[in-house]
């Protein structure tokens, strides 16, 4: 008798995909994983839209624009359990370094005054179009927008931590976090 597989979705918001890369670092254990779970919306299989309700949603990155917010809220609606994966999802991470700087200054630095752009944008254009996401006033960690059930820290979190956590969550076994898996120096 085969048990019903758990369904997983993942997304990278204002992140660098580093957490997803670390996820892939579980190496051959991905074969064990595929025995236990099925993937729905995720960059790993390139499914763009939710096709069914999921058990677990894994979020990399915080929210820096309104599209991130929409995706995150969609995940909350479609997943029973949401996990913030990595520093950016948990605390905003590197993108949140802009939080102390007024948004206008950030945009001007990025598109007009920065050393790599100042000679190539003579018209001083800052992109603004209904089709591109609107930038938020600051970068928000995911739990400030929706309820997050679990937090897996790291930049990125180690593959072993991701694996152990997912395995424990899917099988209902105890989560093992030996020191090597949870140290950051």
């Amino acid at each position: 008798m085969t048990k019903k597989k758990k369904i997983i979705a993942t997304a990278s918001l204002a992140g660098c995909f580093g957490c997803h890369m670390s996820f892939l670092d579980i190496d051959e254990r991905i074969l064990n994983l595929i025995e236990l779970v099925e993937f729905n919306k995720s960059p790993i299989n390139d499914i763009k839209k939710f096709t069914k309700h999921c058990d677990i949603g894994i979020i990399e990155g915080g929210c820096c624009n309104d599209e991130n917010v929409h995706v995150l809220k969609e995940f909350r609606k479609n997943c029973d359990i949401l996990i913030s994966l990595g520093e950016c999802a948990i605390m905003g991470g590197l993108p949140a370094m802009r939080n102390g700087i007024p948004l206008k200054e950030c945009l001007e630095e990025a598109y007009i005054n920065g050393p790599t752009v100042k000679d190539v944008n003579p018209q001083k254009i800052i992109p603004f179009d209904p089709d591109i996401p609107k930038i938020l006033n600051k970068v928000y960690p995911c739990h400030e927008i929706v309820k997050i059930d679990y937090f897996l820290p790291g930049c990125p979190p180690r593959a072993d931590l991701i694996w152990n956590a997912l395995y424990a969550l899917v099988t209902g076994n105890e989560l093992l976090i030996p020191y090597e898996v949870f140290k950051y120096d």
Binding site: D66, V69, K73, R76, K77, L103, K104, L107, I126, F128, K134, I135, L136, N137, K138, Y140, H143, E144, I145, V146, K147
Partner: protein, 599 residues
């Protein structure tokens, strides 16, 4: 300027442990402590500038920049807010033309808020250049500012309607009222200064005194309730050539003001208690640690001390007895609630930041300047004098089994007769409400023992004030049904603890901020039921804090949730658990859209 600094330092013999006094005196002279001043002090005392800055930056009444020729500190306590602080604040702002936290461009007036200044029975109150201005109204506030603009002196602005009793003494001339509503048989009974000293000189040894205090079961009146006789005995037996007696008059718990009244009306009783403690313990030096908010009493208290010296009740050969020497100095604080904790108080008196020490060793073994030190509350010393005069048997006839004698209560809030009540232990909260003229059916809650105590509901008004039931340091804030408990009380208290945490221990430093933010969120109507669960759950971490004040810094929230869960539930019931109501997408993208709209 340099001369002023040198003169002050000389006055304290260049002793770096007197840094608090040095800074206070220099600030009184110069208005603030500039970087240049710090450098001068550093050179003169031969200590690094950073040591001066770390003390300076700890206390909120020290300034490193000019805070105005007239500096107004308006009380931000719960009762001040009940009684119309916001209107008074607005009047100050309008008339002065600046917001709170600012100084007028001409440097004349500075407006600031401060934690409870011990005037809860006559709010809203403010300290202006260290002088208390109680019972303010918007009209009075405007008049005060106008007089300042006219260049009137503080004495002129105060006028001459001084408070009753010693508040009118020529060295105090304060507008404060005592509001003693009930005089009990121990503290506020008849008293002739020096009688107890005469008695011990004639017939009692130090061990006799300790035995008598032990037999009286007197417990410390500051709140913790440690047996006084035992404390004195340990200090007596402690090794050390020099020992100290401290009187803790750093009454910072919001809603408490009894020590202010006792010090105003019965300073000799307090000092005589310290002398007796000195005799019992074998100490020759006493220090009264007076909170900065009560510094307006200092000249008067110094005068009282001199009177006692002149009468042979202080100094050398007290009561004519050879070898019975004891003298008292006054140490002023500079604004820090945590200095009410005895080891923090000692640190502060040594000229350092008022951060509590690790214990053991306890102050009775190693306290001020690492010498055995007894720290007792103002009321404890007073009680000890009466026990010595009339005996422990007399004392034991009053109160309950675990709590003998009387307690001086500071009653404030929504009642007709706020003020001081000296009652025997064993009265119920209901009894006190009745005495204070509070109508029970109009009362929502009573905050017993200040923010660090508990917020009780009507169901518990039958509980008895005593160590065996509802222990208290003596304050009752009565909260009427017209108040918004979470906003007006809990949030104010959590803000207080956030401001006053000394920052030494992580749980206190971090959670006081977190708690305040969550309560704010609930007040905004954006709270979730999991927020309430978290508030209840996380308070256990506060037990890891070093001092008792830090350990109780989430009490306002958890006791309010315990007794008024329905108010919290009501405020979060419409909010989704899955989505954070406090995040508003339209607000979050507004700034971005505005940048382009302007173009």
């Amino acid at each position: 300027m340099g001369n002023t600094i040198n003169a002050v330092i000389k006055k304290y013999n260049g002793d770096e442990t007197r840094l608090m006094d040095i800074l206070l005196d220099i600030q009184t002279e110069l208005g603030y402590i500039s970087d240049w001043t710090i450098e001068q002090i550093s050179k003169a005392l031969d200590i690094p500038a950073v040591e001066i800055i770390q003390t300076l930056s700890f206390y909120h009444f020290f300034h490193r920049e000019p805070k105005g020729k007239y500096t107004i500190y308006l009380n931000d306590s719960v009762v001040s807010n009940f009684n119309g602080k916001d209107e008074v604040k607005k009047a100050f702002e309008e008339e002065a033309g600046i917001k709170f936290g600012q100084v007028t461009p001409d440097g004349l007036i500075g407006l600031f808020e401060t934690s409870c200044i011990g005037m809860s029975d006559q709010e809203p109150a403010a300290l202006i250049n260290e002088q208390p201005f109680p019972s303010l109204t918007p009209e009075k506030a405007k008049k005060i500012i106008r007089m300042m603009k006219d260049g009137k002196s503080i004495e002129d602005i105060k006028g001459n309607k001084y408070g009753e009793g010693n508040n009118s003494h020529y060295l105090m001339r304060s507008l404060v009222n005592n509001n003693i509503q009930e005089r009990g048989p121990v503290i506020f009974s008849d008293y002739t200064p020096g009688e107890a000293i005469k008695k011990i000189v004639k017939e009692l040894s130090s061990t006799d005194i300790i035995e008598e205090i032990k037999k009286s079961y007197l417990r410390g009146r500051g709140g913790a309730g440690f047996p006084t006789g035992l404390k004195w005995e340990i200090a007596r037996k402690a090794q050390g050539d020099i020992k100290y007696i401290f009187c803790n008059a750093d009454e910072g718990e919001p809603g408490t003001f009894k020590d202010r009244v006792i010090l105003t009306e019965l300073p000799k009783l307090v000092f005589e208690g310290m002398v007796i403690a000195g005799y019992a313990v074998g100490a020759k030096y006493g220090i009264l640690y007076l909170r900065n908010e009560y510094r307006y009493m200092r000249d008067y208290l110094e005068h009282v001390l001199q009177e006692m010296r002149d009468d042979g009740l202080l100094g050398k050969f007290i009561g004519g007895k050879k070898g019975f020497d004891f003298d008292i100095r006054i140490q002023c604080g500079a604004g820090a609630y945590v200095c009410g904790e005895e080891s923090a108080l000692i640190e502060s008196a040594e000229g350092k930041r008022g951060e509590p020490r690790d214990r053991p060793p306890f102050p009775v073994e190693s306290g001020y300047l690492n010498k055995p030190t007894v720290v007792n509350n103002v009321e404890t010393f007073c009680t000890a004098v009466k026990i010595i005069l009339y005996g422990s048997e007399w004392y034991n006839r009053m109160g309950t089994k675990e709590s003998r004698g009387t307690k001086v209560l500071s009653v404030s809030g929504d009642c007709e007769r706020p003020g001081i009540y000296e009652v025997e232990w064993g009265f119920s909260v209901n009894d006190i409400l009745r005495k204070a003229g509070a109508k029970t059916h109009e009362i929502l809650a009573v905050q017993v023992g200040g923010p660090s105590g508990s917020c009780i509901s009507e169901k518990e008004f039958g509980r008895v004030l005593a160590y065996e039931d509802l222990a208290t340091g003596g304050s009752l804030i009565i909260i009427g049904k017209k108040r918004n408990l979470i906003k007006d009380v809990v949030l104010n208290f959590q803000h207080f603890f956030m401001e006053e945490s000394c920052g030494s221990c992580v749980p206190c430093r971090v959670l006081t901020v977190v708690y305040k933010k969550i309560i704010e969120k609930i007040v905004r109507g954006e709270g979730k039921s999991s927020d309430i669960e978290n508030l209840q759950k996380w308070s256990v971490y506060m037990k890891n804090n070093r001092c008792g004040l830090g350990q109780t810094a989430t009490n306002p929230t958890i006791t309010a949730i315990k007794n008024f869960k329905y108010l919290f539930d009501e405020s979060v019931k419409n909010n989704s658990e899955s989505f954070n109501t406090s995040f508003n997408e339209d607000e979050a993208v507004k700034e971005y859209i505005e940048i382009f709209n302007k173009k």
